[in-house]
């Protein structure tokens, strides 16, 4: 009888240890998978605030991202109803800026970086990448955001 108990307890302990080991291995595999399967954009890509913080809720780059930068940095003064700044629609079709300079990426970027009497200087607020995306939007025929047709949310699944 004692031998049976010893055998039984030994087997039970083995089962318990095996179960613990299995859980541990599974957990480790899980941990490894967490970094291996992270989507492009990093493991925080699904954190909405990460996209909002980086002005990337609509796109990673290009005119679509430029629109988001425009919305947060330009729209409030340059929309069709506000009188705080000139409209930017078709800016690149105009011969000159209000400063008299020709309209091109260099002069527009310089104006944005330096600001003006009633315009903040965005030198410290926009990176070179931000500026490239913003300019690509201002050049785009879709410029400029007016609120009547906000952009699609890429996370919304029904179209």
């Amino acid at each position: 009888m004692a031998r049976i108990w010893k055998t039984f307890l030994g087997a039970g302990l083995g089962v318990a240890l095996f179960a613990g080991l299995r859980t541990s291995q599974e957990a480790q595999a899980q941990s490894a998978a967490s970094s291996a399967t992270a989507p492009s954009g990093g493991a925080l890509a699904y954190q909405r605030s990460f996209a909002i913080y980086n002005l990337k809720t609509t796109a990673e780059s290009g005119p679509a991202r430029g629109q988001e930068i425009y919305y947060f940095k330009c729209y409030m003064c340059h929309n069709e109803l506000a009188k705080a700044g000139p409209r930017l629609r078709d800016l690149y079709q105009r011969p000159r800026l209000l400063t008299g300079q020709p309209v091109n990426d260099q002069t527009v970027a310089e104006k944005i970086r330096e600001g003006g009497a009633r315009m903040p200087a965005y030198r410290y607020a926009l990176t070179d990448t931000d500026m490239a995306d913003l300019l690509s939007y201002i050049r785009d025929r879709k410029c400029c955001f007016e609120g009547d047709n906000p952009p699609p949310n890429p996370l919304y699944r029904y179209r």
Binding site: A38, Y46, Y71, K83, A84, A125, F145, N153
Partner: protein, 558 residues
């Protein structure tokens, strides 16, 4: 056969012991997690640290790859979590706001019934309670945590908090940098322009009603110091504690909307289970079906020369949708059956188009609409927009919020930017105006409870209770520092709910015990301007639409 029977009888103790052991090895985790709660019964699992600690208050989230709906549950004090029953399919499993832990994501997790999910093992990124100021961590900080970590005096931070608040997130300010001249231009434009569109200039700078020019200057100088060209994010960070106990017993579901940059404002439910939301600077109101995550948009006809956008939205007991157009100065009536809009112009005197008329209204049980502005409380005919009764105010010029008691006896509203509540006894015509004791409490929007008391969220992070019978205010500051309130809604048990703007929390206040539960949200905003309670469920269900264009449902487990 007899020998077998004898052997079986002899080994009964052994068999029982084996049964107990196997049960303890294989069945315990399942039994522990199965709460039996009617809202749960879905996938479940365990969250532990790499050192083997059971982690409480971790936000475990499943994102449906088919619908995009995000469901978040919270690990309890034994590290266990349990989801509600979810549609079978592929999901992304992640930890929301991991903060002190390395981000965790698993793609294409197959969910089918109450499956056991393999343990989630999280690695700490710091050996101390302090976190490194990396872009990843900074993007997870709530505005209140930003404010806590930034250098500055209490006066500077409080002045910023009560001044630069409802129109945008703190984060929108702190994620960028300008020189002092530029901050001066931005702040000047914010304080001198009318409403959040900043289209018109106010004849009298609005914040100067309660802020002196020296305080505006102080804000500019502080911003230039902490968010100027030379400012650096190079100090270690502290964050608020994770939820514990009752605050972990909730399910939070986030629904995507078809568009971004909507500046969404209000939400209200109808009798068919749809949720209606208003966008602040866009012509599309939307209707969410929470059973599928599908949204149908309806475009309000334009008013020439005016910015589109709705503020207040409400569904009456006939399922007619009501909204206010703050910039065009209309009430909007929408019949979902015919999909017809009716725009009802309001007489707002010489207020120019695109200046806010005060967009928050309330419908009384008799169908009349109430609002306080331009020095009087008014009763409005919903069909014509005509003012059919007016009650002059003495202490304040109007109220920001509007609420009518369930019995139709009282109208009341928080009078932000004034620190007061204004009301009228509709039966007697008596006007009641009571100032708050706390400076910059800033009570604004809210609702009456079933005992006839009104509750208002206040900009200064205060819940303000108005007791009409006693002609008294009571004030309850929210526990989390730097959190601001904008509105409040009440449920059938007379508990009060309010999103904590910039703190990423949703407050639940029990007036009987004066206890708070602060539910931590998967995103750090909590930018709720008017929540809506579905009292048909038990426990109640609370909805809000975040300023950042997503709809949120909170289902407390008790």
């Amino acid at each position: 056969m007899n020998e077998i029977s004898r052997l079986l009888r002899k080994t009964i103790p052994l068999q029982l012991a084996l049964l107990v052991l196997l049960t303890s090895v294989f069945a315990t985790p399942f039994a522990v997690a199965q709460s039996g709660h009617k809202l749960l019964g879905g996938p479940q699992g365990l969250v532990i640290s790499a050192q083997g600690e059971l982690l409480e208050g971790i936000m475990v989230q499943l994102i449906s790859q088919r619908t995009g709906i995000r469901t978040t549950v919270y690990s309890n004090d034994r590290g266990r979590y349990e989801f509600p029953q979810l549609e079978t399919g592929a999901y992304t499993l992640r930890i929301a706001r991991p903060l002190e832990f390395r981000p965790y994501v698993r793609e294409a997790v197959q969910i089918n019934g109450p499956a056991q999910i393999a343990d989630i093992v999280l690695e700490r990124i710091s050996k101390t309670e302090f976190l490194p100021p990396t872009p990843e961590i900074l993007s997870q900080l709530s505005g209140a945590e930003w404010l806590m970590n930034l250098e500055g005096t209490a006066e500077e931070k409080r002045t910023f908090m009560v001044s630069c608040n409802w129109c945008h997130s703190y984060e929108q300010v702190f994620r960028t940098r300008y020189d002092e001249r530029s901050w001066g231009i931005i702040v000047d434009r914010m304080v001198r322009s009318a409403g959040s569109p900043l289209i018109n200039t106010n004849p009298r700078p609005r914040p100067f009603d309660y802020l002196g020019t020296d305080q505006v200057e102080r804000i500019v100088k502080w911003l230039a110091r902490v968010r100027g060209p030379e400012s650096k994010d190079d100090t270690l960070l502290t964050v608020f504690p994770r939820p514990r106990g009752a605050a972990t017993r909730v399910i939070v579901t986030e629904f995507e909307l078809p568009r971004t940059m909507l500046a969404t404002h209000d939400v209200a439910g109808d009798s068919r289970g749809y949720l209606w939301y208003s966008p602040h600077r866009s012509p599309y109101i939307g209707r969410l079906d929470p059973r599928t995550g599908k949204v149908k948009e309806f475009r309000i006809p334009d008013t020439p020369g005016a910015l589109p956008g709705t503020h207040w939205i409400w569904v009456d007991n006939q399922d007619i949708v009501w909204a206010s157009e703050n910039w065009t100065h209309h009430l909007v009536r929408f019949d979902p059956k015919t999909e017809q809009f009716k725009k009802i112009p309001l007489d707002v005197g010489d207020l120019p188009l695109n200046s806010p008329m005060g967009g928050n209204y309330a419908i009384a049980p008799d169908g009349f609409i109430w609002k306080a502005r331009a020095g009087k409380i008014t009763k409005i005919d919903p069909q014509t927009g005509a003012y059919v009764a007016q009650y002059p105010l003495k202490l304040v010029n109007g109220t920001y919020g509007s609420a009518v008691s369930d019995d139709g006896r009282y109208f009341a509203g928080g009078a932000w930017p004034a620190d007061a509540v204004a009301a009228v006894d509709i039966q007697t015509g008596e006007v009641i105006e009571i100032p708050t004791q706390l400076r910059n409490a800033g009570p604004a929007r809210g609702a009456f409870d079933r005992e006839g008391n009104a509750w208002f969220g206040g900009r200064g992070g205060v819940l303000v209770k108005f007791e009409p019978q006693a002609r008294r205010l009571r004030e309850y500051p929210v526990p989390t520092p730097y959190a601001s309130l904008y509105g409040a809604c009440t449920d059938k048990h007379n508990e009060v709910w309010s999103g904590e703007l910039h703190a990423g929390r949703f407050a639940r206040f029990n007036p009987k015990t004066e206890q708070w539960i602060e539910y931590v949200l998967p995103e750090h905003y909590g930018h709720d301007r008017k929540c809506w309670v579905d009292n048909s469920t038990d426990p109640v269900t609370v909805w809000y639409v975040d300023h950042n264009s997503f709809l949120v449902r909170l289902q407390p487990l008790e």
